[in-house]
Symmetry: C3
Subunit: 116 residues, 3 copies
């Protein structure tokens, strides 16, 4: 098996490990859905920590991250949480753009790729 | 040659194979352009199957997929086709957001990465 | 060290090299911010050339590129610059969608992945 999948659902997997890398699905908040941007970002980053751990990786090994905000006016609020979480000295490449997400309860979605 | 390109055009290639992976260009419908979201999604997924085959891969080896919908209200209709196509037990990581696409005839765009 | 980071900031790195690939952060214009789409695209592509060089790569080794335009009506203007820059015979996979970017002075953002 050269591909290991984590949290395999009928529509997508939560993480896919192959070729020495782990590809995470776009993560949105669950408990914090509908809550503040800061709360949603905190939950998402905690979920990413968990998924990276399950894949044998961690946030110091992040390569590239895509962030979508349903409203770009939340940029500073999202970053206030991101900046406290981002591994200093080992920050990933990143791009953040605005996009309407799968439901109005979601203000933030984050998709990450890391080295295992 | 450590990079193999498929469908090389002056602006982009349809697929790029390197490092044991294949990176597909964002696919939109051609014949089904202007048609229903379901029709567009079917054509796009068939094109992805073809490009993956040309690269020596297939949908059970998908790693990560980005989907853009020109209107998020089409989420269920797109998923109704996706769910029938997605390889059960081997689903990729995925993120779906809303974005205006290159022309109004396009309702769906899908960009995929797979292991060769 | 199996990961090399270039332009490491507290929020993100400008480029991350790992696994034989380089992952660039989403690039926006600096000097040309607020200027024409063509001017912004030129500056961004020059920055990408520089970052690829720092990573030991170059534009003929691009694998996959994501482009965001704050207004899809700029598609032709962005492409007029892109088409003159894109390495003929070695074009990457690419997807372009519309998205509001981090500030109104930005009309174009480009995120690229290349083989080192």
């Amino acid at each position: 098996m050269d591909i290991k999948r984590i949290g395999v659902g009928p529509r997508m997997s939560k993480a896919v490990v192959a070729n020495g890398m782990v590809f995470l699905a776009g993560q949105v908040a669950d408990k914090a859905a509908g809550g503040s941007v800061a709360e949603q970002t905190k939950e998402i980053l905690a979920t990413i920590d968990e998924l990276l751990a399950q894949a044998g990786s961690n946030k110091t090994r992040l390569l590239s991250v895509n962030i979508w905000l349903s409203d770009m006016s939340a940029f500073a609020e999202m970053n206030s949480v991101w900046d406290g979480w981002a591994p200093q000295g080992n920050t990933p490449a990143r791009a953040t753009v605005e996009a309407k997400l799968a439901g109005p309860q979601y203000a933030v979605e984050i998709m990450a790729t890391a080295l295992v």
